[in-house]
Symmetry: C2
Subunit: 373 residues, 2 copies
Amino acid sequence: MSVYQFQVLHKDKDSDARRGQAHTARGSYETPAFMPVGTVGSVKGIPPWELEQTGAQVVLSNTYHLFLRPGHEVVGQLGGLHKMMDWPHSILTDSGGYQVFSLAKLRKITEEGVTFRSHIDGALCELSPEKAVEIQETLGSDIMMVLDECPDKDRDEEYCARSMDMTTRWALRCLEARRSENALFAITQGGMHTHLREQHARELALHPFDGMAIGVLSVGESKGMMDEMLHASISPLPEDKPRYFMGVGRPGDIMRAVARGVDMFDCVLPTRSGRTGLLFTWDGERQIKQARYKVDTSPLDPTCDCPTCRRFSRGYLRHLFVSGEMLGPILNTLHNLYFYQRVMRELREAIAEDRLRAYLGDNLERIDRKAEE
Amino acid sequence: MSVYQFQVLHKDKDSDARRGQAHTARGSYETPAFMPVGTVGSVKGIPPWELEQTGAQVVLSNTYHLFLRPGHEVVGQLGGLHKMMDWPHSILTDSGGYQVFSLAKLRKITEEGVTFRSHIDGALCELSPEKAVEIQETLGSDIMMVLDECPDKDRDEEYCARSMDMTTRWALRCLEARRSENALFAITQGGMHTHLREQHARELALHPFDGMAIGVLSVGESKGMMDEMLHASISPLPEDKPRYFMGVGRPGDIMRAVARGVDMFDCVLPTRSGRTGLLFTWDGERQIKQARYKVDTSPLDPTCDCPTCRRFSRGYLRHLFVSGEMLGPILNTLHNLYFYQRVMRELREAIAEDRLRAYLGDNLERIDRKAEE
């Protein structure tokens, strides 16, 4: 049995959006929630005491990366992931499945599991549903994910149907393998096939998972297709379990998915974009390296209360970026993380006050655009 | 006239060390002082609010780098260096001389000044004593340095003597050119020639500079030679002006120079070493990438109260470094900066209590060694 609990506190009257609260062994977090990504046990460039200030309540770490380096046993010897990275709040770990299918070489999939070569040193590794749970339990994850197969988005219906059935069997093996009281979320697949998406969600909903994730969307399909698949995956899901849309996305994508009833998100965008100088603001996305910012004394986003916007000018951020100074990515990332958490806070407030539609009407268009155009 | 003031508060009874206090337009700082280097207007990887916590009271920025990028006029348009980098405390800027002589290409030195090509884009630039002051005043520097010629350490006596005389004329032109009330420090040269060192210090001491710097040592000469030249440069200097040993050094070098009567230091070592995983501790220098630290749960330095040592294990620091995570250099740099400031604080206390010799006896050997040997 799991210590995980989830309650829907309020349902928006004009959409499928929900405002909720979840409880793990480490405390509670509010939904809709955005989880910054700390791939190998660090959110790139951001010490945990700064991360806390952004409002983040859950961090995601990648089982695949930690399994390869430093190794989950090493993390265990260093006291587990929370102690190692000094993050006392909740941590969600993925199962490693997605990275095996996107990063690793020479993978071979059987009913038993998957063998692959490390993208770091080519070492031959094996991952099975049981092993994925064991690794995540050694890491000390509060919310574990089942091992799933992630078929390419162009796979045909027959392949996706077979893969989906195996993913169900793998998910049930994960449930069996769990020894801890930590949460275990299932992952619905089904490729780009509406009826498979629905069928898989319906099947997985029969089992006692703590939450349901929607797997492998946002990998290059159109926004319309993403929305259709998301809707198909969500509609059969029970109301009383959290829905987690994996790897999504841009602020606008998150806003739209919240209206579809999604409760949890993770994405590398705020951190990765911070490093490439792409900054999210309420006037749209800004590319800080542009010459127009050279002597711009205004803050990146005048409405933002993050340390970057409170203290520095666009001109300075551009200078740091152009000069290749480490502080550039750090300040950019900090801003983006604050921005994402503010979006989530505003979404939660809008849902609580039954004005999500109006909120999206006011904000979606300006948040989606490029500020420079 | 300058607003700069300096007082020697106490002289150590067994050495030439002094405990003092200086005042600039931005506030006061205690000496002996260590100034972290913020080359282009950022101490690499460390936001100003963290830097403040380390105990740093003055930051050094490089005129040469800021002149080339973003350009001193741009810094001026962004409100000056303090506002741009959000550092409300004192800033010392070098004159650009050292970088012109170490980084720039195709330099040509005349009595008027120096022409050189930018190491960034090859642009032809000119720097004269007057221009060096103008740039530093545009940056808003609290403590400006005169333009000096920095002869290679192998230059013969005749060259050094001629160069030194020109550096004196340049220094006086800088004094003439000053329009602000900010401090201006002279720089004593003289190569590796004791009597030239003494002569130059004696000559410069006749003029109303706010402080005296010892230029271009610690460039590969032996520790004995460095100490001899330092002594020769310092002994003719007036007691009532601060002495600044430019670009020095390792913690042990700083301790020895403090005993010689030096009041101010700057060095890239704590920041640069942070990025290469070299960490200063009270048990000596540690190279964090070493395999011995893989599952080491102890803090980097158990006696250190910096955030890195309070929160993380050596094993985690090694993991971050080996994985190429940005947080590794950040946490390493933070520790090194705290370490340097603690050394300075302890030196100031030891001087105030007339126990510097005992303090150096207790600490020099262990701080100089490699912890792993």
